[in-house]
């Protein structure tokens, strides 16, 4: 398991999270709006997973296990959380 939900309030990322975990993580985040993400066991994560973390702005319990995540991605996510204003409702383009 690279992603798991504990007690409805912690989403754990473990080991090397592949691209597919992005969707799983998103579903967990949407289903558990208060849950915290714990990535202390996370060695590496695909960009798709990082993107979901960035969009969600959810609090992270770290530091991450992987050095790249710990040194660069964690701080970048933290900065974006401070800067991100509440986003306006997205204008969805209609296709036909």
């Amino acid at each position: 398991m690279t992603i798991a939900l504990h007690d409805d309030n912690t989403i754990r990322l473990i080991g090397a999270c592949p691209a597919e975990d992005g969707e799983t993580l998103l579903q967990y985040l949407l289903a558990n709006p208060k849950a915290e993400v714990d990535w202390r066991g996370c060695e590496s994560a695909h960009t798709a997973v990082i993107q979901v973390l960035l969009v969600s702005g959810r609090a992270l319990r770290g530091p991450a296990a992987g050095p790249f995540l710990e040194r660069f991605i964690g701080p970048a996510l933290a900065r974006s959380r401070r800067e991100v204003p509440p986003s306006p409702p997205g204008r969805k383009m209609r296709k036909r």
Binding site: V52, P88, P89, G90, K92, K95
Partner: protein, 733 residues
């Protein structure tokens, strides 16, 4: 006209309108950040759309405008009227191009010359706006992403190269991991992440789409970085950073800025009106730039605002006050009160023809209305009732026809062809197949089949999951196919068709079919069913396990369970739309997944039944048949009752009991039974009387009644009574 061009024209017009609205609003409130962001997004999307149809001149022009808007966004300066004017002119030009394309179907020939003129005007607007004095600012505008790098401001970091990398949105599909490329850069110092689309929220994001902008700083020389990133060169912007001789740390910065700000105040306090406006301008700009350099953009904006005020009042007081305010420690003013967040309404594009049809029908309805008024007058005039009755009957027939047509026309407005979602797949399938080393062609059929817009919109994700499964697991590798005597290229057929009130979409692959033993093994491993239960299942039942929640999890990227996107999510998505998913697999020859969806979410066909003197509706798609069962054929089973229909035991539910109604004793002869299918089961509902079939517009229960179970909604009957339509699924569930 090419369909892409058609869509491009539609979307571009919407975007032009949206950008114009935002620009007009900016004219009133030049510092409205929300609106500026809106304009920027619209220009950005327009540029992208132009790129898709290969309209280079338009793309170029909009790019120039986008640069200016992006600089404005970064500087947080209010938009000046000449920039605003040129942006509007740019939209006008775009509109003219769109008109020309609509007429000829081709990109206008003179576009390049117009584009050059427009770009020159845009650049001109920006430079006059910058007062020609601060070339540094224009440069900063072009490199505004550099400012967003946290460490870029302090040259002491020793950073030599800055990188901006915007991965292809389809990067994930191609199996790329953009951040891993950045992670492998030598001597990395900092990484900054941003979304290319600021409006993305967890609710709207597509996790399969890369919407990231990645900024990075490294100590490695530019040439080394360039060679490391050669594979993604066209999506990166690599800039050398000038190493600074002096390396002041941030305390020095602050001290320098403070003395700079104090000097500006001294300059402004010099008496005498001569050169006041020049001094105001220069002091204001210097102070604002110093504050920007310190990252105090809020204060910088305040200073610039004060500069404008001072200039118009010909008095330095406000500017002095603003700079002094900035000198007060930690004087960042509170954020501007939140501007009203515009709620985006859900827009639906409609063909003019369909609206015209509605207009025509409205006209005909007015004729009928007049005729009925005329008939009423004739009744008052004591005319022969039989003649008037005949007139009314005629008008009623006419009215009936028109009402039907009107209903049909309104429903057609909400209808889209499946093409809108189908056409995205051929490219995706080719890419997914390429990733797994298979060659597969996707044949789409029945793209013209229409369905409710809500349904068509929601189909993309489930269809994508099914197609991915077909590519990943359905189609065998070329070697396996060759040894099975099949052509090396696999075929997936995506087929849509309309069947009565149902839209059916089949995804058929010519792969190896589903390995039922593997399914059993995986299901056992996941504890979905006991070994005995699994052994007792028929093949069809075992295949159904693929839809069980938990069958597919991200951790088991096995041959069968796929990429963590389970078939259970497909079933859930389709059932949310009121549809069903079925799967048929033939060992060695392929798998067919069938999605059945209602044509429209609005119209429901119901059958009316009567129980204890009240009428109820049953959705006709759940009704299998009606039958009469003799009392002695109904046998009690446990706490319930059942009867046998064609050798099949069917549980029987008394609708009156279920609804808590008292049944009168007269109905004790033979039971009238409606056989319904709900949640995959068959059941019988005993009723007093069987009624008629009706097409109804179902209104869902609202307010206090909203929480009632077993009720799908209500509709009005011809005589004004309310018909309650029951939700059979919930009654048996």
């Amino acid at each position: 006209m090419n369909e892409f061009v058609e869509q491009f024209l539609l979307e571009s017009r919407e975007l032009v309108a949206q950008a114009t609205d935002d620009l007009m609003a900016l004219e009133d409130r030049p510092a409205d950040k929300e609106r500026l962001d809106g304009v920027f997004r619209a220009f950005h999307t327009l540029k992208g759309a132009a790129g898709i149809v290969e309209f280079a001149a338009m793309s170029r022009t909009l790019h120039a405008a986008e640069d200016i808007l992006s600089a404005l966004r970064a500087s947080r300066q209010p938009i000046s009227s000449n920039v605003l004017g040129e942006c509007l002119a740019c939209l006008d030009l775009t509109s003219r191009w769109l008109d020309a394309m609509q007429a000829s179907g081709e990109t206008p020939s003179a576009a390049d010359r117009d584009a050059d003129d427009m770009i020159a005007r845009l650049v001109g607007a920006m430079t006059t706006d910058e007062d020609d004095k601060s070339p540094a600012r224009t440069a900063a505008a072009r490199d505004d992403w550099l400012d967003r790098l946290p460490a870029a401001a302090s040259p002491s970091s020793g950073a030599l190269t800055a990188i901006r990398y915007v991965p292809d949105p389809d990067a994930f599909f191609r199996g790329e991991d953009p951040l891993s490329i950045i992670a492998s850069l030598p001597q990395l110092l900092a990484v900054e992440l941003a979304l290319t689309d600021q409006t993305l929220t967890p609710e709207t994001i597509d996790t399969f789409n890369c919407s990231l902008e990645i900024l990075a700083l490294t100590k490695a020389p530019t040439a080394e970085v360039q060679s490391a990133l050669r594979s993604i060169a066209e999506r990166t912007d690599i800039r050398p950073l000038a190493p600074s001789a002096a390396s002041p740390d941030s305390d020095d910065d602050l001290a320098q800025a403070t003395s700079l700000l104090e000097a500006q105040i001294a300059l402004l306090r010099v008496d005498g009106a001569d050169g006041l406006s020049g001094r105001l301008e220069s002091a204001g700009r210097t102070a604002a730039n110093a504050l920007l350099y310190l990252g105090r953009s809020g204060l910088a904006a305040a200073v610039e605002q004060a500069m404008t005020t001072s200039r118009s009042q010909r008095n330095a007081a406000s500017l002095i006050a603003a700079i002094e305010q900035a000198l007060t420690p930690e004087a960042e003013p509170p954020p501007a009160p939140g501007t009203a967040v515009p709620v985006a309404s859900r827009a639906l594009r409609v063909d003019m023809d369909r609206i015209d049809a509605l207009v025509k029908l409205t006209g005909e309805l007015i004729v009928v209305k007049n005729a009925i008024g005329h008939a009423a007058k004739r009744i008052a005039g004591d005319e022969d009732p039989a003649a008037i009755a005949s007139i009314l009957r005629d008008q009623h027939a006419l009215f009936d026809r028109l009402a039907n047509e009107l209903q049909g026309a309104v429903l057609r407005i909400r209808v889209l062809p499946l093409r809108t979602v189908f056409r995205r797949f051929p490219r995706l399938v080719r890419e997914i197949a390429g990733n797994v080393g298979k060659s597969i062609r996707l044949i789409t059929e029945g793209e013209a089949t229409e369905a409710d817009a809500t349904i068509v919109d929601a189909l993309f994700e489930p269809l994508l999951h099914v197609l991915r499964n077909a590519v990943d697991h359905g189609i065998e590798t070329p070697e396996q196919r060759a040894s099975a005597g099949k052509p090396a290229m696999g075929t997936i057929v995506l087929h849509g068709r309309r069947e009565a009130d149902t839209v059916r979409i089949e995804i058929e692959d010519d792969g190896g079919g589903i390995d039922v033993d593997r399914v059993r093994a995986v299901a056992a491993a996941h504890g979905l069913a006991s070994e005995q239960a699994l052994a007792a299942m028929t093949e069809a039942e075992a295949v159904e396990l693929i839809f069980a929640p938990g069958f597919s999890t991200a951790a088991t990227v096995s041959d069968l369970s796929g990429r963590g996107v389970g078939m259970d999510s497909v079933r859930a998505a389709v059932e949310r739309l009121g549809g069903t998913v079925t799967l048929r697999s033939r060992a060695g020859t392929g798998t067919t997944v069938t999605l059945s969806l209602p044509f429209s979410l609005m119209m429901t066909r119901v059958m009316t039944v009567e129980v204890a003197g009240q009428a109820f509706g049953l959705p006709l798609d759940t009704v299998l048949e009606t039958t009469i069962v003799a009392r002695d054929m109904i046998v009690p089973i446990g706490s319930g009752r059942a009867f046998v229909l064609r050798d099949r035991t069917i549980p029987l539910v008394d609708l009156a009991d279920t609804l808590g109604l008292a049944r009168d004793a007269s109905s004790r002869e033979a039971a009238k039974v409606v056989v319904v299918s709900a949640a995959g089961q068959i059941g019988g509902l005993e009723v007093d009387r069987l009624g008629e079939r009706l097409d109804v517009m179902l209104k869902p229960m609202e307010g206090l009644l909203g929480c009632m179970t077993s009720v799908a909604g209500t509709t009005l009957l011809g005589d004004g009574r309310i018909l309650v339509v029951l939700d059979v699924q919930e009654m048996f569930g």
